[in-house]
Each structure stands twice: as C-alpha cells, then as structure tokens.
C-alpha cells in the first residue's frame, strides 16, 4: 500500500478495497517504525488523523468523495493547524498551539485529506539542509549520512520514504524544489499568489509560496488543485480561477519549446549531475520538444539579491516573536529589554539570528539605498530576463541543484557554500514564477533533480511536461534502499 500513488490510493478507497482508517493506520504504523531514524516528523497527530479518516470514510460511503478524500498527507510545520502545535522548527514556537487553521490547511481538510503529522523543517524555513531545525536534522532516505535538503526536508523525506503519498512544503528560495531533487521526488512551487499565504508562518513575504510534494506529477497536480485559489485574507493571492491541473496531462510535447539557460550549466555544476540532466533532456527531445539555448544574463545577481531581500523581510516578519503574547518567553526577565533580548536570544537558533541581523543591517538608515533598494532593482532585472526568455520558449529547464545531497554537517559551518546550493532555484522566487523539480536519474547513487520553470500561472504546462517524462522514465518509481 505504501508504494501506491495518491491516484491509485484514491481509486482503492472509492472502490472499497480498504478504508481511509486502515490506510491512515498503516501510514501511522510505518511512521512509528521508520521515522525515529528519519526524523521527518515533529508531531504525529494520530488521534486527529484517525478521526479525520473516519469522517473521510463516511464521505466516501456517501459518494461525495473527491480525489483527496481519505488520502493521508504530511503537513509542513509552517502551516497553522488549529489545536495542534505549529513549531516552524523553532524553539520559539515549541509551545505554540495554533488557534486557527491556515487557508491551505482548511482547503486540504475540506478536500477530505487526512493529516497524519507536522513535518520537520529548517527553523523558520531558513536553511537548505534541514540542519537548522530545533528538532534535529532529517536524514535523506537514500543515504542516512546525507541531508534531505531544505527547508522542507521533512516533507520531502517523508514522501521519499513512503510514509505518506503526498505532503506540503513551502518554497522561498528553493525549499520545495531542492529537497525534492535531493530526495528523488516531485515538488512544485506555484506562481507567487497562486496559493494563499494566510496561516503560513512568514519567512520572506514577497517570496514565500506553498506547494505540494508527491512522487508523480499527476499526484502533485491533484494536490495543487486543492491547495490553490484566491483567498480574500491574503492580499497577494491572485483572483484567478483554479484550473483542472490534471486535465492537460496527456497532451503531447510535440513542438514544446524548451530553453536551457547557459548560466545554469557553467562552473559550479557537478559534472555527474550535468550528465543526468543532459540525459533527461534527451528524453524530452525524443518526446518531440525543441531545445534551444537561452540566456538569463542577470542570473549571477540572484543569490546576492535574495540574501538581501529575504533577510530584510524576515528581520521584520520575525519581530512578533518577542515573548509577549505567545511562544517562548525567557524566565524571570529583569525588565522589558531583558525579556526581549533573552526570549529572542534563547528562542531563535543561529541561522535565524544571522538572517535577522543581516536584514536589520540592510534596512538600516544609511544602508537602505545601497542594499534593499539596490536588491529591488536587481530583482526587476532578473524578472525581466525571464519575461524576455518566455517570449522565445515555453519552459525553461536545467538542474535543480548543483550537486546531489551533501553530507550532514558538510556545509553547516559555511553559510555561503550552503546558500549556493540554491543557486538555480532562487531566481525563480525573485521573479515569482512557477517551478518544479522531478527525479531525473542518479549520480553516485543519489537522486538528481531536473528543474522545470514555467511562465506565470503555467503550472499546468509544467505538470504536463513532467507527467509525459514520467510516462517514459521510471526514476520517480525508484525506492530508497531500506524503504521497500
């Protein structure tokens, strides 16, 4: 049952082969056995899950089931879940029981999906290896000595290890696509504004976007359909009808114009990763796609721009964690300043503090023009590069990450090296475009991700391109050793 896709499980549920309760129990049991070594889940929500499963079963019996009804999923611990701890991977929120549901949570509940737990993540989504979590690192199911990527490392590992068929993530600079690549699964970051950010604890508001993890593009399409939509509670969500993302999955790729940015294949890209990506592109040629080289001349600005914009926004977004109303509060503060200093000093981890300090500096009087304003200008240039590129091509492809999963601790003492692991994904957030990562082979026995970048709101086109590739390859069906 664990190896079935969401689509297969949904069919089984509706045909009465098993109940959601049985399925959910099986997932919980598997998590109980396997997760102690993986550490992909912070909070298992067994009781609520079984109740939700029984509700889903009733709905299935009454014939009102949708594609997600009764399907167990794991939810990144960045989404508020009413009555359930929502930690954001931080000591700061270790005691925070959210009093309300995020819009994404509400929509998945409404679709009948069954949340089995909240997944591990880099603290406040700041990290690319899941090593900054207060709850400890997550192991990559393909090699327990390596990282699963981040920040949505727990969600990616849980799907790769077949604890759940699907999960949710958020992507600010690559936090869905990079762990999807490193864990050998499918991950989609939608267009900025496609999925509501209400109830999703903010890291960098202008970049954050929620999306699904799945093993197949088809499953990701169904998840996205339930997660997406305009939300009057989020001014940056876009008032635009949600498409049927599965509708166009069978479409031919004949004549699809794929652009390969020169800048994504240069120095810094691991040659074995490059080889896997080239092989994947050959498959696309066979499917009838036309592949051309393009240029995104301002690509080199992406990482520095991101590391001004994201910390600047986070320095302000994280000010509310002050020990006054919720979350961690230092014991016996001497006065107000002591309350602030110690609550934040003790509640936040090193990476979060580093980014708050960088962001505070970048916004300070006298530095604002040189950093924040300059970064906004660079961001516009990056965006314009993509807009020009999409006048020539339909989809942009390249590697998701410059290397396969690295070893635990390998980069954790060198932030800049760590930041460079998102070099191909960050520009997509700065431009607000949709992006995907799909399994595209192996290098040194570890999964390689192929990144697909689409024009605004062209998630369906990306999903179709991913789906067609998955019909002619089986990388996405590979199971990590030990998780059969």
């Amino acid at each position: 049952m664990h190896h079935k896709t969401l689509v297969e499980l949904g069919a089984g549920l509706r045909q009465g082969e098993y109940s959601s309760e049985e399925l959910t129990r099986a997932c919980l049991d598997r998590a109980a056995v396997l997760d102690p070594q993986l550490n992909s889940i912070i909070t298992l929500t067994g009781e609520q899950a079984l109740q939700a499963a029984r509700d889903a079963d009733a709905r299935i019996r009454s014939g009102e089931a949708g594609p997600l009804t009764g399907i167990p999923y794991a939810h990144k611990d960045i989404f508020c879940t009413k009555g359930v701890r929502t930690s954001c991977g931080s000591r700061m929120l270790d005691n925070f029981i959210a009093p309300y549901d995020a819009t994404v949570t509400r929509q998945l509940n409404a679709a009948g999906a069954v949340m089995i737990g909240k997944t591990n993540m880099d603290e406040f989504a700041m990290g690319s290896s899941n090593e900054t979590s207060f709850y400890g690192p997550v192991s990559n199911p393909w090699d327990s000595e390596t990282v699963p990527g981040g920040s949505s490392g727990g969600s990616a590992a849980a799907v790769a290890a077949r604890l759940v068929p699907v999960s949710t993530g958020t992507d600010t600079g690559g936090s869905i696509r990079q762990p999807a690549a490193l864990c050998g699964i499918t991950g989609l970051k939608p267009t900025y504004g496609r999925v509501s950010r209400y109830g999703m604890i903010a890291f960098a508001s202008s970049l954050d976007q929620a999306g699904p993890f799945a093993r197949t593009a088809e499953d990701a399409a169904l998840m996205l359909g339930a997660m997406a939509g305009f939300d009057p509670r989020d001014s940056t969500s876009v008032e635009r009808t949600v498409e049927d993302y599965t509708g166009g999955l069978g479409d031919s790729l004949e004549g699809l114009k794929i652009g390969l940015p020169n800048e994504f294949f240069g120095e810094g890209l691991d040659s074995t990763v490059a080889a896997a990506v080239e092989a994947a592109l050959d498959e696309y040629r066979k499917l009838g796609a036309i592949i051309t080289e393009i240029s995104l001349p301002n690509s080199q600005l992406a990482v520095p721009t991101y590391y001004v914009v994201a910390p600047a926004e986070c320095s302000s977004n994280l000010s509310r964690f002050d020990g006054v109303r919720f979350g961690y509060r230092a014991t016996d503060p001497a006065d107000l300043e002591d309350l602030y200093k110690r609550s934040r000093g003790e509640g936040f981890g090193a990476e979060v503090k580093r980014r708050i300090m960088i962001g505070t500096y970048a916004l300070s009087a006298g530095y604002y023009d040189a950093y924040y304003l300059k970064a906004q200008q660079a961001r516009r240039l990056i965006r314009e590069d993509f807009i020009r590129a999409f006048e020539q091509v339909d989809v942009i492809m390249g590697p998701t990450s410059p290397s396969v999963a690295f070893r635990l601790g390998e980069k954790s003492n060198n932030p800049v090296t760590m930041y460079l692991s998102d070099i191909y994904t960050i520009a997509v957030n700065l431009a607000g475009l949709p992006g995907m990562s799909i399994p595209a082979g192996f290098a040194t026995d570890m999964p390689v991700g192929l990144q697909l970048i689409g024009n605004y709101f062209e998630e369906a086109r990306l999903l179709n391109a991913a789906h067609r590739y998955q019909q002619v390859t089986d990388w996405h069906e590979r199971i990590p050793p030990g998780y059969e």
Partner: protein, 479 residues
C-alpha cells in the same frame, strides 16, 4: 531680540470605520480589554493584513476637502520598532508615498485676517494598543483593542506663527473631519490628538531654528499651553547662550510643562520598507469622482452661503458653520421660523448656546429641537409674543414643554395688541401717577420708561411694546 515662533502640527484623526484598517475586528471604544482584537490584531504567526476599503474612501474625502492631491499610487510601509503594545513589532503606515499630499486649509486668525496653512501630507496607518501601568503591580498590562484602529495622520507645513494659530488650525481640521463624517473628533477617547513641532528663530531670519516635537496633546487648551511653554523655554535657552537640541518632549498636562522623553524611547531607526503583504493602493480618477459626489457642503462654502442667504456677518457665519450639526440646526430653525436668518442666528448663538454651555451639552443633545425653536421664533415674528416673553417661553421649552404655541396658550402669554385695551391700561397708569406725569411735562423725559414699565407690569409683560410706546407718547401729550 525679537523671536518668531514656527509651528507645524501632526494631527492623528481616528477614522470612523466600523472595523479595523487591516482586520474585521470592531473599532468600538470602551470594550473589555482584548475583546476586540482578532488573530490579525494580535499579530499571531501566519496572519496577513487586508486593507479596509472604507479608509481609502475617507482619506480621499479628506484630500478633496483640503485641495490636496490624491495620489494615484500610494504604498504601505512597515515602521519597525519593539514595544509590547505593538503586536507585530512594526506598525503599518505610509512613508514615501502617502495617499494625500500638497493641500491647504484657510484659517481665521482674527475677525479680518485669513491665513493659509499648507498641508504637507496625510497618510493612513494603524494605531497601536495600550500599555496599562496601573492595576498591575510590577507588571504592565496590554490591551490590544485599539491595535489596528485606522488613523489618518495629517501633517501641516511649518506655517503657524503662534499657539493661537495652531489652535485655530487644529479646530479647523477638527471641524472638517467631523463635517466629512470621517472622524468623531472625540478628544477624550483619543480619536483626535496631535503632536506639535515647535521652534523659534530671530525675527527676520529665514532658516528655521532647531525644533522640539511635543507629543501626546489631546485638547485644544493643552496645545496652546504646551506650545506657549515650549516657546518660552526655547527662548530662555537661546537667550541664556545655550542651544536648543532636537528632541521629543512629552507634554505634562498636570504640570503644564514639557519634558524630554528618555533618549532610549526616541533613539529609533525605524527601518521603513514597503510592506510586502499589501499591494500598492491604486486610485483611479473615476473613484475620486465618485467620492467627490458624496462630499457634504464644506464649511467654507457653507459659511459664504450663510452670509449671502441670511445676511449674516463673517463672525456669525463662522460660528454657525463651525460644526456640521450646528449649521444644520441653524438652517432647520430658519426654515421653521419662516426665513428669519438674523433672528435665528441671534437665538441659536445667544439663548440656546448659553443654555447648552451651562448644561454642558452638545447641539445634538439640545432639549429644544430646531423645529421647536423655529416655532417660537415664528411667534416673535408674527407679533404673538414679544422677545422678552419669548425668553420665558424658551425656558419652558428647555424644561420640556412641547411647543411654543402650547406654552403661550396654557400660560396665557399671548401679546396684547388690541389698541383699546392698551389705551385703557395707559389711562389707568397715567391717572395713578400724577407726580410722574408732572415731572414728564417739566421735561424729565426719562420718566417715560417708568410709564412703559407700569403698563408692562399691569399686563404681565404681554402688551405689544411697540404699541405701548406709540400710544403712551400720544396720550401723555394729549392728556
């Protein structure tokens, strides 16, 4: 040395919306602490602000009423600082691109001088909560009911030259926002408050002196006191050879003085940047036109009209248009009394205002409605009662009697205008006062008043005074 005072005001007007600027929580004043603060107001993790469209409409109204530019595009920015009653650790405000800018308002400095005060900008922002230091031993209580209440911050040019001008400007803005219906103007509840930037410079010097910002002023009287105190303080510093330092000072209403805030409280770099959770506010000309259609008659226009239509003086027209309620009351009285503008003005500004002041009531709470007062004036006008009797009737109306006609009827106050009846009374008076008649005939004309008094006394004031005068003159001379 002669010193010149330079003042600019920053007025915070709380916009009279039902819900908050970025959440659906109620803005009602006086509820139990923290009962009107929703997840958004509390700044819970994950919540997002959504702009209340009504505040935009209100800001545009203000812009139109002050000859200002309504910005086609304005931006909300975050003002970052830590304070326990600021839930998010930042206040959402407008910084570089405010919604309204570059306008003006004319104020009357005295009866013949009008002065134009520039309005630099007016921007939208959210209010913070309240820190409560009483009732919590060694701790501070936080009430977030006020957090997220919409404010319009109105910043003037440094165009005022005295505390009096500052008060006149503040009163004018106060009147205007109430005319527009965008602020209830309640200063006790903090719906309308102001900070004053005050500096002095040698008369004739073009460059501005160093200013102090006076915070926390919530009455017209305090504005005057705070500025006057501050001006004297700065002059004393300068004349003593010192220099004024730029600082924020708090006005202490109990001691009538300003004192510096601790430097810690003001040493803030607010790290403003555009709020990524909110889209730019884009206002199209059609929206502005639609708002223009909803504008009430503005005080200036109404004042001109009162002068022209009712023949009122500048002063009277100014008083009667000071608030929309007073102007409306006045016009209802005029209509009810048959168009006697001057008479209505005299009564509204005289007896009625006097009684209201004495009772500490606003015009809206007047026990005598405009229709009832108009009915009274109609009876003066048609000669049913004299002005003096009218005062007596007014007192009855104030005490709760129904209408002037009822009072006149039940108390028998109808004026005696029957010549033969008045003649009879005069005859009796003259017959009973031979000594006074003698005096009058000997040239002591002031005795005339004595006869009038006697006639009025005999008729309990009901005789038509004009007729009494005429008939008395004739009869004394004839007698």
């Amino acid at each position: 040395m002669k010193w010149e005072t330079v003042i600019g005001l920053e007025i915070h007007a709380q916009l009279a919306t039902r819900s908050k600027i970025f959440s659906g929580a109620s803005t009602r004043y006086g509820a139990e602490p923290n009962t009107q603060a929703c997840a958004v107001d509390l700044g819970l993790p994950g919540v997002l602000p959504v702009l209340n469209a009504e505040v935009v409409r209100m800001a545009v109204k203000f812009g139109l009423a002050t000859h200002s530019t309504v910005a086609p595009r304005s931006i909300f920015a975050r003002k970052n600082y830590f304070y326990p009653d600021l839930p998010k650790g930042y206040q959402i405000s407008q910084y570089e691109l405010p919604i309204v800018h570059d306008g003006y308002l004319d104020i009357e400095v005295d009866e013949d001088t009008v002065k134009r005060i520039g309005i630099t900008r007016a921007h939208l922002e959210e209010d913070a909560g309240k820190s409560l230091h009483e009732d919590f031993h060694g701790m501070t209580g936080i009430d977030l009911n006020r957090a997220g209440t919409p404010l319009l911050e109105i910043v003037s040019e440094p165009d005022m030259r005295s505390a009096r001008e500052a008060v006149a400007y503040m009163k004018k803005i106060h009147s205007l926002v109430r005319y527009l219906g965008i602020c209830d103007g309640n200063m006790q509840e903090g719906s309308f408050r102001c900070d004053a930037n005050v500096s002095v410079r040698p008369q004739g010097q073009a460059a501005l002196g160093t200013r102090a910002e006076l915070k926390n002023i919530n009455s017209f009287r305090f504005v005057e006191q705070a500025i006057n105190y501050e001006v004297e303080r700065q002059i004393a510093v300068l004349e003593g050879g010192g220099t004024v330092i730029q600082e924020t000072r708090l006005f202490d209403a109990d001691r009538h003085e300003t004192r510096p805030m601790r430097s810690k409280e003001e040493a803030n770099d607010y790290r403003y940047f555009p709020d990524p959770d909110l889209l730019p506010v884009e206002i199209e000309p059609a929206f502005i036109d639609a708002v223009r259609q909803t504008l009430p008659e503005l005080p200036e226009v109404k004042k001109q009209r009162f002068m022209e239509d009712y023949g009122l003086s500048v002063y009277d027209a100014g008083v009667l248009t000071a608030t929309r309620e007073l102007g409306d009351y006045f016009e209802t009285v005029v209509e009810a009394c048959g168009g006697q503008g001057k008479l209505a003005a005299n009564w509204v500004m005289g007896d009625l205002s006097g009684a209201l002041n004495k009772a500490g009531l606003e015009i809206g709470a007047s026990p005598v409605s405009a229709d009832v007062l108009g009915g009274l004036l109609r009876r003066i006008e048609d000669g049913t009662i004299s002005g003096k009797i009218a005062k007596q009737v007014f007192e009855a109306l104030w005490a709760g009697a129904g209408s002037a006609d009822e009072v006149i009827e039940s108390q028998g106050l109808k004026q005696i205008s029957d010549s033969s009846a008045i003649e009879g009374i005069i005859r009796d008076v003259l017959a009973n006062s031979p000594k006074q008649v003698e005096q009058y005939r000997n040239g002591q004309e002031k005795v005339f008043g004595y006869f009038v008094g006697q006639v009025m006394k005999a008729t309990q004031g009901k005789a038509n005074p004009k007729q009494v005068n005429e008939l008395l003159k004739k009869m004394i001379n004839d007698a």
